[in-house]
Structures are given as structure tokens and as C-alpha cells.
Symmetry: D2
Subunit: 304 residues, 4 copies
């Protein structure tokens, strides 16, 4: 009864050629680049994947191509977050047929939900889904948090198997860890990679690290060091993670700086196109130059 | 060069039988009930219409049936707000073919946008749309405000013809009025009906009043009193609007109280079903009893 | 049983020579300048008066000099907002002895209070005060709002005689107007001068307008036009108020832009020094030049 | 050049008999109780000490009595946070004369400051202070955060020697750790005790743990385990800290629940009175019973 999902499960970016066209070759290279780093799963259609900005047609194409490319080497998790219940179910059904292993769901994010409404929503949706479900706590984008008591109640639903917490609130995360004895099969995953070390050192099961699109091995190594209690090595690798965060993720000025920097870096090292869906736009030349400089300083080289 | 859109343009609720099924007869009764009140337009697929919670199939059915029922008696405005650019364009094209007169767009609402990103988004989207466009300022739900300077720049785009402001920030609204000399054809409409009187008294062009689903004539009369400068009558009708707000809209406890109360009231007076799309749920019996009591006190009677 | 406090009651700036030294001559000129505009009262030690940034010694000196200068020509209201109950009572006692007519109190503003705590606080404090008390709703600075139900309960306390609302939320203000029948002696005053017209047109009793430090007559005239229902004149004067707001109050970049612009303008027209208590700093030369330009465009001339 | 301040420095509660009267005997017992736990310093007049709610007279009495009781056994840090620059300097001077070792300063908390204003404020204040200064990051109560770049600039000021971070934002805390090479004498202390383990494991210097009023030894042991890299023991003690947080600190409903629970518990185990300064009120009997139950379950016994 250990958690089935643990380790590093990167939220992959969505390589695009234009607004409604996948960069197919880039997607294949990206998947192989990440898998070569020893990751434990892949998460498509998350925040880092710009899911809400993509057409439903493109979302389905992405699911299909990803599952086909991965071929079962690691589990594929698919984001089905949607403001419309019906559309979330449609996408879940599609993902199951395409061969995905699990689903990920943040609260419906237009209306500010109350906790009773949110709990009822999850209670009604989960039974209609063909795959195990992760909750996704992402209050900066959805406005609504999964409060601790709501998570406790959601643990009573059998096919909910874990939670990904991107709140960056470690007090909250530790309180969730306190709920785990009721569901030893549950996985608690952390969103912000800057918090991977402490979350795993103190009882979390892994991370959904955006930076693992770029440097998958670094996050896998950090996870391993934390799981095996190698504190000095964990501190050293955590410091590397912080250097990436302090330089690369602060190139841009807006809330989307992180996303743009990851995609720009992937383009610079030859993995995939860095086109972004609206409302975003890839970095202009000034920021690209700063990204190149940061990559050089960080020792992140182009693919061979 | 006067604004083409002015007066009371109710954001109609979406009558539902179940999660993905329209209450077709209810929709027809609702439209006739509202039009009988002398309103100047209809707005479908807004916040009051629970648009983000509906499947795309149902959104299209609603647009089609509404346009067919209205038959050009008043303009129909269609909400196309979407996190995905491509889906917003698809819905806009559908609305144009169905016979709608204008579109309404809030910022894409998952990612917190910066103002340059938001402006660029509008600059790229507007030219792809087949109909005149209203911007929709709704920061509690979209996180992003259309700042005054962004609106000033958006006024340079010819097929943007107005803005609906639901921020409830009258300082902001007055600053927008100050921009109107540059586009005398623009319409500034107010969202919260509690602010209809002052916005029209001081230069606004009308309101998108949710309460007009229920009492269309009241809001039309208040608009007329303000436009014609009948201050005493305006105060009296404004006080009636406040009584509805103070009683009916405070029956429920959550952020969705307003929506639930309107839909419940419409059911009580025999207009349409009050099923609600997730994450909401219609009022339970306790709240229904309080709605009935409020309707009786307000003198709002069942349809003949 | 009409409200005793109505009309324009400017929140006067605190003229300073240095961190802990009043500009005494400037204070006298400022008071005479404002009284010459026909205002109905003066409010010292409000937000515009930088009260929280002043030493208690200087606050007392300011109260004393203001009361002495005014000599009963209009009522003097004194802000006693404090995080410490005991210090608020001390200042209230001092104000009463100095000859003030009323006190003004925002919630204690370090800890985020709950509504029951806030109500209890007011219930315990009011009986200890030697003068009538205004509540002061200022959520951007105090974090805590006086919710409508809390105000309703506070109305049961005899020596609370009104509320000044600086929330800029007119829906809230209209709801407070709905409470007035229970206390016909109460005064509802609006903070933001951009909302003076509508608040008085629809039932409010006046405004605590920061701009009346500079142009007292304009706000008195606008108040009179609204009270007497001269709608065209009200619109014209309201437009002047908006022009001041749109130009002068947007010279600086930070939240304190309004304060700095008022003080800088008063210096430019020869009324008083524009030194500011920490954490603020008067405008540098670049902003001063823009203030001078705005004053010229607005036709605001130096004192004769 | 190691940090002079490290380890557990509890923010002591202020034992009160009534609104403006210290519980002197309780204060002595509290100090001895805490020192017996092996702590590395004491912090008076922090948030946990209800500083902003106390009269200045009482603040001075508390400083004097604390320094006299401690007699140099550990350093005493004194909070001087104030909205008025002049009052902060006065209190700092008093603290130095009374024998305190350092000062603690959060941003002035009425006006929302900008970062340039905040930096300038610190640059002007620090040189006027007679003792080393800690910055105190506490955005929920002061609205203004010390942004990373502002901290970097503040590090250039010699008598600023550290920062206490109560933001509960560990990404921010890790970024501050990245600044330490420039000032190896600086101390980074964490506020929320739920984050003590990870902050010390990954480079922080200690914690200002409110719970150490009650159980000082627990936090000292956890700090020691983290400093010496005893990971299993750290996990076990961290779990105890979380159990206290999950039970005791969630007895009350409001934002002040933590404070009230600590004070109530200290009363229950015979340390000091639990009177609270306005706007708070000690727990009523219902909550007291729940506190007693929690203390029993946690094995926290009355003083011998």
C-alpha cells in the first residue's frame, strides 16, 4: 500500500509551432530528453504546459502523441482542469483511451468556489472518471485552495490517489502530510522545485518540477539524495536548483517569467520551438540574450 | 456617432434541465419575460449565464436558440471569454453565423496577465472577430483588470466598441468616462445594478443588470429616470434596486449567492428551471423558503 | 434629529518643517485657506494628515494649535485611530480638553481583526470617550472592513454618530444608507472625492475630500449642487474633480502619490512646507515640475 | 564572522493583569520557564507579545523588567516596529539603556510602502539606533514585504545584522540564504515554527518560535537535531511541532487563534495570566476546555 506515484514527474511544456499547431518533432525530442534523465513520470497539460491556452483539439493531439512516444516507459498524467464539468470528463475519457495512467484536476477556476461547493464538485466528478485522480492545489491561478479539511474528506473517495501542491505554503504541506496515515497509498507531490528538498526530507513523495524539462537529472538526483538522507549532497543540489531559479526564472518581468524562461531555454539548447500560446509571447531578443548568458553561467549546454 | 449600445442589456441566466441539457421552454419564457420589460439588448454567456461552467456544445445551442427566439427585436451580445484564443474565435464565428450583433470578452482568466500581455492579446484577437467587441472588466473572476491606460490603447482598435465594467470601482469608471471624447461611438456599461443610477447620472450608457432577468421593467425605468434627469424618481427606483440586493442577494452564504438567488426566484415565479452547472448547486429548501419570503415582501409575483 | 455633521470636512495635511517639527505658520495659513472656502468642518490626524507617522507629542501639538486657530468657526474632528486602546483614549481625552468636537476611529490596524472582535472593541472603547465618535472604514490601510452588520450593531451605541467610508466601494455605501432610518442623527461621509457627487446625490451627507486642502470651494460647490439637485452643475463640477484626480494624483508612482501631490501643490501655491514624515519623502524635482505643470493646466494659482 | 544570533529565540507573550497592567510575577515565571529550556535569546514586543496593542508606558516597563530578570543570561531582542519613526527611535534608546542586546523592526505598517520608500526608511533609521538591528518580514500584518533586492541593499548597512522571516514563504527564505555570502555575520531566523526544521536543515540560523513559550526544550532539541544533521530525530521532533500546531493552534476561529491558544495554555499550566490587550479577548470557557484537552493529549503538564 505504498504510493504508486513518487519521484520526479515533470510538467512538460507544450512545444508549439504556432497558435494551434504542435511542434511534433520538438515534442518527441523533449520527451526523450526528459526520460533520459531518469524521471518517474510525465505530466502533460498542466500550468507549465499552458493547458488553458490550448484548443481542445490540440490538447487531444498532445495527449495522443505523448502516450504514443512514451510507450509505457513511465506513467503519463494528464491535466483535465476545466471550468466546465462536462469538458473535464470528455478529456478524461480521451486520456484513458490514449493510454494515460492518471488525471490531475485543479478547482474550476472562474468562479471563486466555497469549500462545500468544491468538495461536492470533487465528489461528483471523481466517480465519473476512468482513471485515478490527483488533486492540484494552485491558489494563485484558481483562487480557491483545497483546505486541509476538504482534502481530508476527499481522501474518502477511492479513486483520488494524491495531491500536487503548488501553493508554496509549506505549513499547509506539512499539515497534509499529517493526513497520510488514513491513506498510505496517497502521493503528496510538491509543485515549486525550490521546495523539493525540504518536502521530500520531511515526508513528501516527490516533485512536479518545471525545471526538469531542462535538467531532469538534477531533480532526480536531488530527490534521491533526500530519500536516502544524504543531507550534504541534498544541500548542494538544492543550491543548484536555487541558482537556476535565481537567474533563469527572473529574466522576465511578469508572472509568466518562469514559463517563458523554460521554453526559451529549451529552444536555445535545441530541444523545441518556443512559441507560446496567447496571452503570452516568447521572449524578445533582449531577454533571449539574458537567457543565453544564464545558461552559460549555469553550465547548461546544447543537446549533442 | 452616438454609442449604438445603450440602456439595459440583461445578462440572461442559462435555464438548465441538467448538467448538459437546456431548459428550452424555460429559455423561451425567460426571453419573452425580459423583452416584455422594454430592455435594449440581451447578453448571453456572461458570468450570470454560468458560461464557463457549460459545455461548448451547450453554449452553441444556447446562442442559436436565443438568436432564433429574439428574432432581431433587440441586439444579442454573446460572451466569448475563454482561456484559449482559438476557442474564443470559434465561438465568435458561430455567434456571427447565428445572428448575434456583438461579442463580449473578459481577459483570459487562468494565468494572471500583465497589462502589456493583455493589450497585445486584445490587439491580436479583435481583428480576427466577425462582430463588434465589448471588453468586460471583471477582476474578481479574471484576476486581471483592464487598466485605464490599457483601455485607452484598446480604443484605437476600430471594432472594439465599448466596455462593461463589473469591478464595482466607481473611481475607475469615472476615469473611463474621461476617455470617451476619443471615441464618441463607445458604450460604457456598468455591471453591478446597485451602481446603475450613479453611473448613468454621471455619464455612463447603461447597465448589464442581473436583476433584470427578474424585474426588467424596474431597471429600464431607473435607466430612463437617470437619462432624463428625474432625480427624485431615480432615488426611489434606486432604493427599490437596493432592497432587492439587500434581501434576495444575501440569502446564500457563498460568492455565488447572487446567481443562485436569481435562478431560484425565476423558478419560483414560473419562468424556468433552476438547475445549476457545477461547481454550483441550486438552493436547498431552507434557502428556497427565504427566497419565497423575500419575493413576497418585494411584491414580485408569479407570471400570470 | 438631523445629522449634526454634514458637508465638506477636509482631512487636513500636517505641515511639517522636519520629522518632528510642525510648520506652525504653514498650519495657520492652511486652516485659513480652507475655511475661506466655506467648508463645514476640519478633520486632523487622518490618513491625509499622515497621523500614524507622527510622534504623539507632535499629534498633541497639532490638535492644540488647530483648535486654537479655528476658534469654533467650524467643528474640529480628531483622528484617534491607534493599535493600542490605551493610547487612543489618551489622545481622545487630550482632544476634548483642547476643544475638539468629535473623534474619528479606524480599526486597530496591525492584527487582522475578525468582525466580532472589532465590534467588541468599539463597544468597549466608545463609552470611554469624551466626545462623539465617527467610525472610519479604510480597508486598504487597516485590512479590516466594518461589515454592514457590524455597523448596524455599532449604531446601537449612542455616542457613535456616523461613519466615514474610504473603501471606494459604492455598493457598500448604498447598503449603509439603507441602515440610516434607525439613526436619523447619523452622518455618512464619503472618503474618495471622486465619489462625492454620487454619494450625495443618492443620500450621503458629505465628503472628507483631500483635494479640499487645495481647492476647498470646488468641493463645497459640488456638495451644494448635489444637495440642491442641480444635476448639470454637479456633472460639470464632478468633471473638474476628476481632472484634478486624473492629473495631479497620478504624478507619483507609489501608493502615496495622492498625499505627496497634495502636499507638493500646497507648497507650490505658497500655503505650507511639503516635508513628509517617514516612510514618505516629498517629491523630487522631476515630480515637482510635473505638479507645477498640472497646477497651471488646472488653473490653480498661488495664494495672493 | 559567524552570526552572533542563532538558535531558538522565543517571542515571549506579554503577561497582563488588565489592559494596562503587567502580570509581574507571571512575567518572571515565564522568563525562567523559557530559559530553563535552553533557549538562545528572548524577543520581547513582537507580534506574539501583542506589542502594537500595548501602551508605550507598559512597553517600557516590560523591557525593563525583562532585562532585569534575564540578567544577561541570554541576549534580549526588543521589537521597535512603529508607524512613527520618532517613536521607534525613542523605544530603541530606552531598550539600549535597559540593557537589551538587539532591536527588531518590521516595516511601518499603516501606509502600504513601496520598496524604494522602505529601503530609504531603513537607511535613515538604522544609523540613529544604538543597537544592532534585525529586519522583520511579516507581510500579513504590515502589508509590505522586504523584497529580496531590498534585503540585498539593506545588507550594506553595517548595524543591520539579520532578518526574521515570518512570511511562511520558503522560496523567499531560500533566496535570502543565497544572499548570505555577502554578510557571513548575518542571521536568518524563521518565524513559523512549522518551518523550523527545513529552514535550519537548509541553511537558516534558528527560529523565533511562539510555541517555545510553552515547550522551549522541544524547539531547542529540534534546532540541535537539524544543526547536527540527525535527520530521523529531526523528523520525529518536527512531527511533534506539527501536532501542537494542528491541535492547539486551531482551537479558535479567528486570525488570532495562535496567540490566544499560547496564552491560554500558559495560564492552564500555571505560568501566567491570559488577559489579552484589545482588540483581542482571552478564550471563553468552551475554547479553554478544548485547550485543556489538547494539552492533555500532547502531554504538556502543569509546572511543578
Amino acid at each position: 500500500m505504498n504510493p504508486s506515484f513518487r519521484g520526479i514527474i515533470p510538467p512538460i511544456v507544450t512545444p508549439l509551432r504556432s497558435r494551434d499547431e504542435l511542434d511534433q518533432a520538438g515534442l518527441e525530442r523533449l520527451i526523450e530528453h526528459i526520460l533520459a534523465g531518469g524521471v518517474h513520470g510525465l505530466f502533460v497539460l498542466g500550468t507549465t504546459g499552458e493547458a488553458p491556452g490550448l484548443s481542445y483539439r490540440l490538447r487531444r493531439e498532445l495527449i495522443e502523441r505523448t502516450c504514443r512516444q512514451v510507450q509505457g516507459r513511465v506513467p503519463v498524467l494528464v491535466g483535465i482542469t476545466d471550468t466546465a464539468f462536462v469538458e473535464a470528463v470528455h478529456l478524461a475519457d480521451f486520456a484513458a483511451k490514449a493510454g494515460a495512467q492518471a488525471l490531475v484536476l485543479a478547482p474550476p477556476y472562474y468562479f471563486p468556489n466555497s469549500q462545500p461547493e468544491l468538495l461536492e464538485y470533487v465528489q461528483q466528478l471523481a466517480p465519473e472518471l476512468p482513471l485515478p485522480l490527483f488533486l492540484y492545489n494552485m491558489p494563485t491561478h484558481t483562487k480557491t485552495i483545497f483546505e486541509v479539511e476538504t482534502v481530508r474528506r476527499a481522501m474518502e473517495i477511492p479513486n483520488i490517489v494524491g495531491l500536487k501542491d503548488s501553493s508554496a505554503n509549506m505549513v499547509y504541506f506539512h499539515r497534509l502530510i499529517g493526513l497520510l496515515p488514513a491513506r498510505p497509498d496517497w502521493s503528496l507531490l510538491i509543485g515549486p522545485e525550490e521546495l523539493l528538498a525540504e518536502s521530500v526530507l520531511l515526508g513528501g513523495h516527490g516533485g512536479v518540477c518545471g525545471g526538469a524539462n531542462l535538467q531532469p537529472r538534477l531533480y532526480v538526483d536531488l530527490y534521491d539524495a533526500c530519500v536516502t538522507g544524504q543531507l550534504d549532497r541534498a544541500r548542494e543540489l538544492h543550491a543548484q536548483v536555487m541558482r537556476i531559479s535565481d537567474t533563469l526564472y527572473h529574466v522576465g518581468r511578469h508572472g509568466s517569467a518562469f514559463l517563458k524562461a523554460i521554453k526559451c531555454s529549451l529552444h536555445e539548447i535545441g530541444v523545441c520551438d518556443d512559441f507560446m500560446a496567447e496571452p503570452f509571447h516568447r521572449f524578445r531578443e533582449e531577454e533571449r540574450a539574458r537567457v543565453r548568458k544564464a545558461l552559460a553561467e549555469l553550465g547548461i549546454a546544447a543537446l549533442a
